[in-house]
């Protein structure tokens, strides 16, 4: 998506102050809001979640000085409203464009480049697994021990062992996975930079 300007520093500071009076907390909220808005665009099936997120922040940045004094409520909902308008515009634009054929939904395939990275992936995976505690490694293995239908009963049993609900078990595993995935991503990026 084409964007015409960056947010002026003054307005950016205003956005931070609006999110939270404590600048450090506000900075953390800002990063998370960017991530979550991009996710929201993903859930809606938008083609360019990152670009649309940038556009939301540009638009809010331009209006923040006039909106903030009168806005009542959680500022993140204002961002969501702007995102919603953007999606509607996106859909309207898509409808006006004549498509000669249905967009092709391609399944991810293993490309030559992926094959090249398989070794790096394995190496990064091994390295990052070593950084997990033995307990967390074991939990990941247990969580994936069964597939398809069998996994429902298995995860229910596993949650009972921990004395938590299946939902909380999923969140517990999610936190480990986020840490592991983040480590692998950083490791892979490092390998690309080395080459």
């Amino acid at each position: 998506m084409a964007r015409d300007s960056a947010v002026p520093t003054e307005n950016f500071e205003e956005i931070l102050a609006w999110l939270n009076p404590d600048r450090e907390v506000a900075a953390t909220m800002y990063v998370q809001l960017r991530h979550d808005l991009a996710k929201t665009f993903t859930f809606r099936g938008c083609a360019d979640p990152e670009g649309l997120t940038d556009e939301v922040f540009d638009r809010v940045g331009k209006k923040v000085l006039e909106v903030r004094p009168t806005y009542v409520g959680d500022p993140r909902l204002y961002f969501r409203a702007v995102a919603n308008n953007l999606i509607k515009e996106d859909l309207k634009r898509a409808k006006t464009q004549v498509s000669l054929e249905e967009p092709e939904l391609r399944e991810p395939t293993t490309t030559e480049s992926d094959e090249d990275n398989a070794e790096d992936m394995e190496e990064c995976l091994r390295s990052c697994l070593q950084k997990l505690s033995a307990e967390n490694r074991k939990l990941i293995v247990e969580y994936f021990a069964k597939e398809k239908q069998a996994k429902i009963d298995h995860r229910s049993e596993l949650a009972k062992q921990f004395g938590i609900s299946v939902e909380n078990l999923r969140v517990k595993v999610y936190r480990i996975r986020v840490s592991l995935q983040g480590c692998i991503e950083r490791c892979l990026k490092g390998k690309v930079q080395q080459k």
Binding site: L33, D36, L37, K39, T40, T42, F43, R44, G45, A47, D48, P49, E50, D74, R76, L77, F79, R80, N84, L105, R106, E107, P108, D114, M121, E122, L125, L129, Q130, A134, R137, K138, I140, V141, E142, Y143, F144, A145, K146, E147, K148, E167, R170, V171, V173, Y174, R175, R177, V178, L180, Q181, I184, E185, L188
Partner: protein, 280 residues
């Protein structure tokens, strides 16, 4: 829609873009403002990715999934990472020892032995021999250490400075060289309990005199002999070498002392033998 009414099924529909507008908007609001809902959504998104990787989604859900989570390079990379983690975990879960990194060396050896029973007896014998040798070696080292400590103590006790002092709990005994004792009985030592040291007076009857002597004390039947170097002779009427021993090292039995005269270059020249019996 309240937060507690958010079910997994509803979240799944949200993730696949199947919710009606009102529910979807509410869910988006909760996702952005409620941290617990946010984590649940993101955790369920991971499970959805797992289902796709397992090929468990029906055709419609698969298409919805692909249109949302497998279009950009970034999304495809994340799918590959998730797939790699999942593949590893499945392999580990199916392996005989899922917690391989924490399995001990002994467990691995035990497993290997169970697979190859013909090696058990030879390996067991080897292990027993190794243990015996190791214990023997340790004992030997300990004995060696004690032996050296005793010799150091004897050397200290018989240094010229120590010999000039006369401690109260010391008893002297005169011995005669075996060569001149002929048919006379061995000197018997009965060491009183309150005595800490004994002082043996060893006459040197040979004409040749030496600046330095060395004594070797041996309890007959024992393999262990203690060497006391740097002894000097005294000639107060008789040419005698004094040798002090701690009473505690003298247990009942026959003892033998070999006294050797050393030349100035340290080489042994001639020696005399003495013996005594401790009877208490």
């Amino acid at each position: 829609m309240k937060e507690d009414s958010v079910t997994d099924a509803l979240l799944r529909e949200f993730l696949l873009g199947k919710l009606a507008d009102a529910d979807r908007e509410r869910m988006e609001g909760l996702f952005l403002t409620d941290s617990a809902t946010r984590e649940r959504v993101l955790a369920l998104e991971q499970d959805l990715i797992d289902d796709y990787l397992e090929d468990s989604l029906n055709q419609e859900d698969k298409e919805r999934f692909l249109s949302r989570y497998a279009q950009t390079d970034e999304q495809r990379r994340k799918l590959r990472i998730t797939g790699a983690i999942k593949d590893w975990a499945v392999r580990e879960a199916r392996a005989p020892h899922p917690a391989a990194p924490t399995v001990s060396v002994w467990s691995r050896i035990w497993t290997w032995l169970r697979l190859k029973p013909r090696f058990v007896v030879p390996i067991a014998i080897t292990i027993v021999i190794a243990i015996v040798l190791a214990i023997g070696s340790l004992n030997s080292r300990e004995e060696q250490r004690k032996h050296l400590a005793t010799e150091q103590e004897l050397a200290q006790l018989n240094s010229p400075a120590s010999l000039r002092e006369v401690p109260p709990q010391i008893t002297p005994f005169d011995l005669r060289p075996v060569s001149v004792r002929s048919g006379q009985p061995q000197t018997e030592l009965k060491i009183p309990v309150e005595i800490s040291f004994i002082e043996l007076r060893l006459p040197w009857i040979q004409n040749e005199r030496y600046s330095m002597y060395q004594a070797e004390v041996l309890r007959v039947g024992d393999r262990e002999a203690f060497t006391i170097p740097n002894l000097q002779a005294e000639s107060n009427g008789r040419y005698t070498i004094r040798l002090r021993l701690p009473a505690q090292m003298l247990i009942r039995g026959d003892y033998q002392i070999n006294l050797t005269g050393l030349s100035t270059d340290g080489s042994a020249k001639s020696s005399e033998e003495y013996s005594f019996v401790v009877i208490n």
